[in-house]
Symmetry: C2
Subunit: 348 residues, 2 copies
């Protein structure tokens, strides 16, 4: 059944058809208690017959609530941001809110400002920004906006409310796992300096080594892409036999590149070098070898983020601290432990 392009019926039309006032129709739709059952039934039948739907704009104008939230994101084809976006939308919908998304190619001051303007013109009541880069967080802190903003993935240290996974803890889990397996030291391929998460993971790695009395080796940097991991992997391969036996890579995609470079250099994983990633993308289990990694609970991030934003919108004191941290989880696979199970459950 396709759509029709006639002028849609209004509440008044329904009221006439049902023989009541428009206000009674409004009451029925609003689930008000004081409506006689017979009346309610008549109204509902009229609504059904006419295919009536409440006009969003009129309602929003009268109530001064659009029940719409905005989300600003970037890199939405990456697993992490995509998962976060999904979780946010789902959580918001569960609360009866609509979500308008703006996906940016780059999170610059300018593009962020335009995104907020665009959403503001769209009447959003609040915005969640998936802003993993420090500069984006700073920009957000500086920009004026007539609604509350919650940052997801921004890390601590700003005065904007936010939710994120505890990256430092994740890095400690990864690094500690490698040390516990007997490695003397752990190398680290970090993400871009600009990214808060990259900084937190690097800090967690460094702190773990230092508490274990180990001098951290040289830190490598990539840009999250498999290619940058591949390049770093080629460099790392040169250190094998000179103290390099374990690498903590700041995300799974770069770890994929590292694995390939090591393989091409004749370095075996995990026998010669153990590798740990971060994110637990769906493919990680099928890398060669399956990748030990750190899983983040994006769904929890989404729920908490929306909850926090709604508290701010309602003017309630937030139910949680203004900065929520979600606990990540280590997933052990064959890239650090040759006896880890195969994808289908059989041992290697």
């Amino acid at each position: 059944m396709a759509h029709t392009r006639l002028r849609p019926p209004t509440m008044a039309d329904v009221a006439r058809q049902a023989g009541v006032s428009h206000q009674t129709v409004s009451r029925v739709l609003g689930d008000h208690p004081n409506v006689r059952d017979a009346t309610r039934a008549r109204v509902l039948r009229a609504i059904e017959e006419m295919g009536y739907r409440r006009n969003f704009s009129a309602r929003a104008l009268a109530t001064r609530r659009t029940r719409t939230l905005g989300v600003v994101a970037s890199d939405t084809t990456l697993y992490g941001p995509a998962s976060t976006l999904f979780a946010l939308e789902e959580a918001a919908r569960a609360e009866g809110y609509l979500v308008s998304t703006v996906s940016l190619r780059k999170l610059t001051m300018e593009s962020l400002s335009e995104a907020l303007d665009h959403l503001s013109e769209g009447g959003v009541e609040g915005v969640v920004a998936i802003a993993p880069q420090r500069s984006a967080v700073d920009a957000l802190a500086e920009l004026r906006h007539p609604f509350p903003v919650v940052i997801v993935g921004g890390g601590p240290g700003v005065d904007i409310a936010g939710v994120s996974v505890d990256q430092h803890l994740g890095a400690r889990l990864a690094t500690g796992h490698l040390l516990a397996a007997g490695h003397r030291t752990v190398w680290h391929l970090a993400g871009p300096e600009e990214w808060q998460e990259a900084a937190d993971r690097a800090a967690g790695w460094r702190d773990t080594l230092e508490s274990a009395g180990v001098e951290p080796p040289m830190l490598l940097r990539g840009d999250w892409s498999p290619l940058s991991g591949y390049r770093a992997g080629q460099e790392l391969a040169g250190w094998v036999g000179r103290g390099l036996t374990a690498v903590f890579v700041a995300n799974d995609q770069m770890a994929l590149g590292v694995l390939r470079a090591l393989r091409e250099a004749g370095v075996r994983t995990p026998q010669d070098v153990a590798v740990v990633g971060f994110d637990d993308i769906p493919e990680a289990e099928f890398f060669a070898p399956p990748l030990t990694t750190v899983r983040q609970d994006f769904s929890a991030v989404g729920k908490q983020g929306i909850a926090l934003l709604l508290d701010l919108i309602e003017g309630r004191p937030p139910a949680t601290a203004p900065r929520v941290a979600i606990e990540p989880q280590l997933v052990v696979r064959a890239s650090t432990f040759p006896y880890a199970a195969q994808p289908d459950g059989t041992p290697l």
Copy 2:
């Protein structure tokens, strides 16, 4: 600068401040020609000073246009849907539209219906559905909705307007590439029967073989996941030496699983078995070996989809056929051609 929670200024407030009527303010905002420069400047200054922003709901109510589009999607953490979503949002924003997204876990009749309701309550003027499954397309065709709907990825054969990549052509490119390389026949690991794209790719594969006078071998099925590819790969490994030298896998993730299973079975790629995937996810270049695959232009899909929807909304005759097909592109890498370049440009 955080937000403030005072009652925001209205157009009338601005008008008073600027010493004009509210209508003049409206004209300035609407870029109407007939406003004296001095007046316009005064109004703009007042707007700036008061931090005025036009009220979205009032505007939408008066114009009967929300300038909001809806998108219904599922599996948004997969590369294809995520890319499509991104492209749609970007294209819509370029046209000045806001995009409200609903991401579903499953595309059932019920969830689709709820999604359309949700968007309808949100006042969208039209909806793009990323509906790669046949049942979803059928459901969409049956559901009532007071706005136009465009389907993306649904394939031909329905009476709903839509845009999709020419999957049949993509499959012909992949299969033809393998035949041209001298393979006697090509096996196929297909996606779920339910998916239109899976059916189209299988048909393209079958047609190519048949036009070459080759009897298509047994068809295997997976569910797009690496795990299902891994399982199928184990089965395929059993056919090596009995006529199996080339496999066309319906997506890159399953191809990843196939590669792993083959490797574990001691089968070399591409020397013993050549493998082609579909999608060209960013990781494909870093698989072991780098994967030959078919690239889809999601950005074009997004642009065309939005253009088509806007035509429908405006009541214009669509600028293009009601079903647009975008051409895919073969990307040759080492999984079919051992001399293909390395990620960093050096030959293998």
